[in-house]
């Protein structure tokens, strides 16, 4: 079954503008939402040039490893700010059409893979089997009106690259929003053998917590709703649905006799209240997709906050006991995020 790609008006205009400015050699990332049948490109953002250069490089056909890394790092930073439901879909390139097919495909695949890998580092969750592993490279040709989308299946490198039609659409229909305010209280023991007592490895301890979140049950606007039912069904035309999460029933393992008591060298405690949100395109989203997107946002929010603390520590070279306070009051998180309603306003 072919997946169709839809590019929003805003992104289309943005890319045409870049092309008109003759910014050949410009690279950037594409953001949007992947649904069962379609991928929506909602936003495009140009990767800032390295070394504060004014213009793109002279020979824009070449793209070396350090360029790929640069774009990937941009993608990673942007991914941190995305609300639930919105992903980094791939990259765009503004190039004259002079690259040979083989060169192009080779570089593009590397690019798509590197970007996805960088963004995946920020995740405590994995895609499910039925979610597509297709990521795209969108080429904007400087000497034609065309925009060529090539899709790469990152799980199966042998799959032929798909050349796709990219339909454009205004994407101004209101998005459905789900929100939750969630309590976090996680103890992460750090093994005695850990090389550095307080580093990114410690955050692996969040994995158990992440699993618990992905499995917990939910209520939408105070009601139980079947996973396969439509999110918008039965409720008034409210744009935002409030979600409640309830701990999953814990399996009591037969034959388990003692408590787990393990030694540790230190511990990391993550505690507080976090506000999370996910956007779903259109009016036909299913409850299970909305919940999955929101849960992933919960994981992202907490994980990224923790990561920022660690990075903070490295920069400040703090030694010993570190107590770092990140203010995550209800409105604050929203401010840091790309507001999609603001985006569509720009598009119009």
């Amino acid at each position: 079954m072919g997946r169709s790609y839809v590019i929003g008006e805003y992104s289309e205009k943005y890319l045409k503008k870049l092309k008109a400015e003759e910014r050949y050699g410009t690279t950037g990332i594409l953001l949007g939402q992947v649904t069962l049948a379609k991928t929506y490109i909602v936003f495009a953002a140009r990767t800032p040039l390295k070394d504060q250069a004014e213009l793109p490089p002279e020979n824009p056909n070449e793209m070396n490893a350090s360029d790929i890394e640069w774009v990937s790092e941009h993608a990673r930073q942007v991914a941190r700010m995305l609300p639930g439901g919105i992903l980094v879909l791939g990259v765009f390139l503004i190039r004259p059409s002079k690259m040979t097919k083989e060169e192009a495909h080779d570089i593009f695949r590397k690019l798509a893979t590197a970007v996805e890998a960088a963004v995946a580092k920020e995740r405590l969750w994995n895609f499910t089997e039925d979610e597509t592993a297709e990521r795209i490279v969108l080429q904007v040709y400087t000497d034609s009106k065309k925009m060529k989308v090539q899709a790469y299946d990152l799980h199966n490198p042998q799959t032929p690259i798909k050349l796709l039609e990219c339909k454009s659409s205004s994407l101004t229909a209101p998005w459905q929003i789900v929100e939750a305010t969630i309590n976090v209280d996680v103890n992460i023991p750090v093994p005695v053998t850990a090389e550095r007592q307080f580093d990114k490895e410690s955050l692996k301890g969040l994995n158990n917590w992440a699993k618990q979140i992905m499995q917990c049950s939910y209520l939408i606007n105070g009601q139980f709703k079947e996973p396969e039912s439509l999110l918008g069904e039965g409720s008034k035309k409210k744009a935002t649905a409030e979600v409640q999460f309830l701990t999953a029933p814990v399996m009591i393992i037969d034959g388990e006799v003692d408590a787990l008591i393990e030694d540790c060298g230190s511990s990391v405690v993550v505690k507080g209240t976090v506000r999370c949100r996910a956007y779903l395109h259109g009016s036909k989203s299913k409850v299970k997709d909305a919940i999955q997107a929101l849960k992933r946002d919960v994981l992202n929010t907490v994980f990224i906050r923790c990561q920022m603390v660690f990075e903070d520590q490295v920069l400040n070279k703090n030694v010993g006991s570190l107590f770092s306070r990140i203010a995550c009051k209800v409105t604050c998180v929203i401010d840091e995020r790309l507001e999609l309603s603001q985006l569509s306003a720009v598009a119009n």
Binding site: A180, T181, I182, N183, V184, N187, P189, V190, Q197, F198, I213, C216, S217, L219, G222, Q223, F224, V243, Q244, F245, L246, T247, P249, V250, M251, I252, E256, V257, D258, A259, L260, I261, E262, D263, C264, G265, S266, S267, V268, V269, V270, K271, G272, T273, V274, V302, R305, C306, V309, G320, S321, L322, F323, S324, R325, I326, A327, C328, K329, V330
Partner: protein, 464 residues
């Protein structure tokens, strides 16, 4: 005992509640204190707005503290417990309704409402800023899932609000009991998981819950049982051994065999008789059961199976119910019979039963009765047996063997009745048929007046 005709609902609340924490101290006391503190936090959570009850297989979620629930039109503030059963499928053994009312005591199958314990992750009582804190002094991480299992009884007309409060109290109480178990049984870095068991007691119409540490043998828990017996005035017959815990309706439905069938028939009038019956539970074994065709020769084997089931149910042994062939092999091991018995249809009697019980560490007494007409003379001894030992008895005659589960005795007139479980029953394992045809109080003329009998009286091991 829980009345067989009770109108009450049994509300059962279960869930795995997590204790997870970090300690700075590594000694036993540090660990015990750590668990105690964690338990106190858990109790606070249970009494907070984030504690949620969920009806199994329903769409009903209830917040006991705030009174909110997901089906407010059906379950309102002043609703009675009756409203619950309209929203949550009940656990019940409907087969009991098929027992013939002519022969049985009044039976109203017990209705169980199953609830699950959850915590809401999204309704904080307090909104706190997110902090990420590194503690360099942490030395131990502990993690334990408490298998909470609470039962309370409620009348259908009871106010749901009041019942809700009772549930929260009962859960808190169980957590306290579980903490006591941890404090008592933790040794060094070994912290056993506390487990809840529910028991029927003679003077109570509700269930009594005891909390025991996992991983301990029955005999090692005897001191704790003795304490409980003293506290509850229970005497020296066992009531609180873990295998004796109460069978809920689904347990009965899942069990291959029918348990403790004599409780469904009335006892002889206590104005005329003193009645003594078997103590505790057993499963009923009979001809043709388990697709083994032993019709005409297997009755003593079946009686032995019932006796062995009694020792299993009370937790004195733990073996699968032996087949006829296994029993025969055991006789060869015991030196009682030659190998040719294995695979044969040979009869066995009280002496063989005694040998096999011996192999399992169980002693027995044998009474020999010269002829059936003299059965009543042994009344006193049988009364004593059921009063003190309380085990099922095998009565072996030529050619029939029967399982004797109790006697009713009029000391003045000397009249005796016998509670007989018929090993020759060859029908289905369902309550209606078994109560109808396989269990009965018989008169003295039940025995063949001319034939001799050997009665095997298994002895209950010492202790409770």
């Amino acid at each position: 005992m829980v009345p067989l005709d009770s109108e009450d609902y049994l509300i059962r609340i279960r869930g795995g509640l997590s204790l997870d924490g970090i300690l700075r101290k590594t000694d036993e006391k540090g660990i015990k204190d750590g668990f105690s503190d964690a338990m106190k936090d858990l109790m606070k959570k249970v009494n907070s707005q984030s504690f949620v009850l969920f009806g199994w297989e329903s769409s009903l979620y209830i917040w006991p503290k705030s009174g909110f629930n997901t089906q407010p039109t059906e379950l309102q503030a002043n609703s009675s417990c009756k409203s619950l059963v309209k929203l949550i499928p009940i656990e019940v053994n409907d087969y009991l309704k098929k027992i013939s009312k002519k022969k049985s005591v009044k039976v109203e199958p017990l209705k169980v409402i199953n609830l699950e314990l959850l915590f809401e992750l999204t309704r904080p009582d307090v909104i706190e800023t997110v902090t990420v804190h590194n503690d360099q002094k942490s030395r131990i991480h502990f993690k334990l899932t408490l298998p909470v299992d609470v039962v309370i009884f409620a009348h259908p007309d009871d106010q749901w609000i009041k019942t809700q409060e009772k549930i929260v109290e009962a859960v808190s109480e169980q957590l306290l009991g579980m903490d006591q178990c941890i404090q008592k049984y933790t040794k060094g870095k070994n912290v056993p998981i506390p487990q809840a068991f529910h028991f029927e007691l003679p003077e109570s119409t509700i269930l009594t819950t005891a909390i025991y540490p996992a991983g301990y043998k029955e005999k090692d828990l005897e001191p704790q049982r003795k304490e409980l017996h003293d506290k509850l005035g229970l005497g020296d017959k066992p009531y609180l051994r873990r295998p004796m815990s109460y069978d809920f309706p689904n347990d009965d439905l899942l069990n291959k065999y029918v348990k403790t069938v004599h409780k469904y028939i009335p006892i002889p009038s206590t104005e005329e008789f003193e009645v003594y019956v078997v103590h505790g539970s057993y499963t009923f074994h009979h001809y043709l059961q388990d697709d083994i065709n032993d019709s005409g020769w297997g009755c003593a084997y079946r009686s032995l199976q019932t006796i062995i089931s009694w020792f299993n149910c009370q937790g004195y042994i733990d073996i699968p119910i032996p087949t006829h062939e296994t029993i025969q092999k055991m006789l060869v091991t015991a030196g009682d019979k030659g190998p040719s018995i294995v695979g044969s249809t040979d009869w066995i009697g009280s002496f063989e039963i005694r040998s096999i019980l011996n192999l399992l560490g169980i002693t027995s007494k044998i009474i020999s009765i010269r002829s059936g007409s003299e059965f009543a003379l042994s009344a006193r001894e049988l009364v004593q047996h059921f009063e003190v030992q309380g085990t099922p008895v095998m009565v072996g005659g030529e050619p029939l063997a029967h399982t004797l589960l109790g006697v009713a005795w009029n000391e003045e007139t000397g009249a005796v009745k016998f509670l007989i479980l018929d090993a020759h029953y060859s029908g289905e394992d369902d309550w209606a048929n078994i109560v109808e045809r396989a269990i009965d109080w018989k008169d003295e003329d039940f025995w063949d007046q001319m034939e001799p009998y050997n009665i095997c009286l298994p002895q209950r091991p010492q202790g409770i």
